[in-house]
């Protein structure tokens, strides 16, 4: 790993800003995501109202009392925005880890065992990959009941194939390597070899894959809430958008500017942060890629 990245760095000696730029992508991404984590953790301090409390009159413009105004029934939009951060982070964490767990297990098993296991698992992967995922997600979500946990579960069950593929191909490329063969030759057990030699090597890939799944999950949760299929007991950025668009007089007032714009900005910024973190990790995991996508960080 280190040798590969060293050569890759050497080969691009011409671009002095390369390393700094690569750091930038990760740092900026982490800073953005970190900001949202802080907001989510400090939610009780930052908010003065409850999410669905009738705090003021309907569609009051922003003021000291209501930093982002109120919505159609008089809920404080700032409070909803801050609490929506929690939903997005929670789904990112739950669905991200869930997807990774399913995907990595199948990928490891497939790549490590090979043979019939591999063929069968990869066929299953092909089939899941060919399912129309968004409609299926909507269908399963509606019938399972729209709690955040169920959404995370369904996302994990439908979106694992990319992780499984990546992990499998990494494991396959490791299988033939000398140190692994030697380790097995000395009588190392499967679990020992996996823990000692395989998992550390696929670690960065796993993180990159986790970030990608997390970003997708955030998008999907917001999307489901936007379609009115989200958890009815929770605030979510998607739901704020939905409520706004359902409000008949939205565009006859200025309400859209404090009601529609903030959740879009929050959602896009958070997803951008995750994308940047993902790019950062992907480049570390795969230096060849970093040569290819030079300049992506900006």
């Amino acid at each position: 790993m280190t040798i590969v990245s060293a050569t890759a760095t050497a080969s691009r000696a011409g671009s002095a800003g390369g390393i700094r730029r690569r750091l930038d992508s990760l740092t900026v991404g982490l800073a953005i995501v970190g900001l949202f984590v802080v907001v989510a953790l400090l939610a009780p301090v930052l908010t003065t109202y409850r999410a669905f409390e009738l705090a003021g009159r309907p569609i009051e413009p922003p003021s000291v009392e209501f930093p982002l105004g109120t919505n159609g029934v008089g809920n404080d939009i700032f409070t909803q925005l801050v609490l929506g951060t929690r939903s997005s982070l929670l789904i990112a964490l739950l669905a991200g880890l869930g997807t990774l767990l399913v995907g990595a297990t199948i990928g490891l098993l497939s790549g490590w065992r090979g043979g019939v296991v591999d063929v069968v698992l990869m066929r299953v992967t092909d089939i899941v990959l060919a399912l129309p995922r968004l409609p299926l997600l909507i269908l399963m979500g509606v019938y399972l009941g729209p709690t955040l946990l169920n959404t995370a579960l369904v996302i994990s069950l439908v979106f694992w194939p990319p992780s499984a593929r990546v992990v499998r191909s990494q494991v396959l490329s490791l299988r033939g390597r000398a140190h692994l063969t030697a380790s097995l030759g000395f009588g190392a057990g499967t679990w020992y070899s996996l823990r000692r030699h395989v998992i550390p090597e696929v670690g960065l890939i796993l993180i990159a894959s986790l970030i990608a799944s997390a970003g997708r999950a955030v998008m999907l949760e917001a999307g489901l809430a936007f379609l009115g299929l989200g958890d009815p007991s929770r605030v979510s950025w998607g739901r704020i958008l939905r409520d706004a668009l359902d409000f008949q007089a939205l565009f006859f007032t200025d309400a859209w500017s404090w009601w529609l714009v903030p959740p879009i900005v929050a959602l896009s910024l958070f997803l951008l942060g995750l994308t940047l973190v993902g790019i950062g990790f992907e480049r570390r995991a795969n230096p060849r890629l970093s040569r290819h996508s030079e300049g992506t960080a900006r």
Binding site: R123, A222, L245, G295
Partner: protein, 351 residues
């Protein structure tokens, strides 16, 4: 949106995962079998999921304004009418038979033939997604090649930055932004439906103009949403080919820049690009749900939402069969292109 996350590279590994077979015919028949299994799995899922979980399609028949419930006799009669009273196994076998013969039955919530509902909606979605994919493909191909050719330049960096940002914005947010701009700031374009309500057209051109005007915003939203993944794919594969020896040879031969750029460098990106395009076309029918919802466009997306909402089994089943069929047809075409463009696949030489 979610479907875009899949990159061509991921899919590119597909070919090498298949067991080596000794000819194109074998290869293609194995693929066809796989696709049939996939369609069977999906069709079965759509049958069992709604029935395994709570919810009752007959409730959709009740007037929500009035409320109330069915009497036991009325319910029994209705269940018998829709054949919901039969054992699950029998329903399943009948259902498979109906799906195989494309007999979609009668929509419970809309009280009309399912096939005519789909026939009324499918063309609009295909029109939306067909146009969006064409525009996105053309733009990302040109921009990707140009960007790669001038990699590191200011215009390249700006393009990469803008499209990375665009890729982070979900398409319902893009659609909402367009809605804000064209409903409030510059109200010049229609923002809802596929044509003006109650419009009396004097000529076919007037009608075409009206339909086109209604297409602009949804197609733009979809195009922007589809651009990012393809642009980065083209750019990265073209950059990958720039250092190759055949590029040096092309330059040494003194070939015109245009030929170098599109015939030599661009060709490297063709296979993953077409693959991604095929995959995205496969998901086209379900891919515009969000955008259709924002612009209340009468396509398959809004039909899916209505069907799920009403727990309308016959409609749901047919809609998902159409979804699956599109995915599989597109996948099959992609596989054909693969076999055609890259002979190594069919002989198993790559595995």
């Amino acid at each position: 949106m979610a479907q875009d996350a899949e990159t061509g590279a991921e899919r590119g590994t597909r070919a090498s995962l298949r067991p080596p077979s000794d000819g194109r015919v074998n290869h293609l028949s194995a693929l066809a079998a796989l696709h049939l299994v996939t369609i069977f799995v999906l069709v079965s899922l759509v049958f069992f999921l709604p029935r395994a979980l709570p919810g009752d399609p007959l409730n959709a028949l009740l007037d929500p304004e009035v409320g109330g419930t069915f009497t036991a006799e009325a319910r029994a009669e209705l269940e018998a009418h829709y054949q919901l009273d039969r054992p699950l196994g029998e329903q399943y076998v009948r259902y498979l038979g109906r799906m195989a013969t494309l007999d979609f039955g009668w929509s419970i919530s809309r009280q009309s033939p399912v096939s005519s509902l789909i026939a009324a909606r499918l063309p609009w979605t295909l029109l939306l997604m067909g146009l969006a994919l064409t525009f996105a493909a053309a733009i990302s191909w040109l921009a990707g090649t140009t960007s790669a050719w001038r990699r590191g330049s200011r215009s390249d960096r700006a393009l990469v930055a803008v499209l990375t940002l665009a890729r982070s914005v979900p398409d319902f947010a893009i659609a909402t932004i367009l809605l804000i701009v064209f409903a409030v700031l510059v109200p010049v374009l229609p923002v809802a439906g596929n044509r003006t309500v109650f419009a009396q057209y004097t000529s076919i051109w007037q009608e075409a103009g009206d339909v086109t005007a209604h297409l602009i915003l949804p197609v733009s939203a979809l195009t922007i949403g589809l651009l990012g993944s393809k642009f980065l794919l083209v750019r990265n594969s073209v950059i990958g080919s720039l250092g190759q020896e055949y590029m040096m040879l092309a330059r040494a031969k003194g070939l015109p820049i245009r030929v170098q750029k599109y015939r030599h460098a661009g060709r490297n990106a063709l296979l993953p690009f077409l693959t991604l395009l095929g995959v995205q076309f496969g998901f086209a029918v379900g891919g515009s749900i969000f955008v259709e919802e924002v612009f209340t466009y009468p396509g398959m997306g809004t039909l899916i939402l209505d069907a799920v909402d009403a727990r309308d089994y016959p409609l749901l089943e047919a809609v998902f069969l159409v979804l699956a069929a599109t995915v599989l047809m597109a996948n099959f075409v992609v596989d054909l292109i693969y076999t055609w463009l890259d002979p190594g696949v069919s002989t198993g030489a790559r595995s």
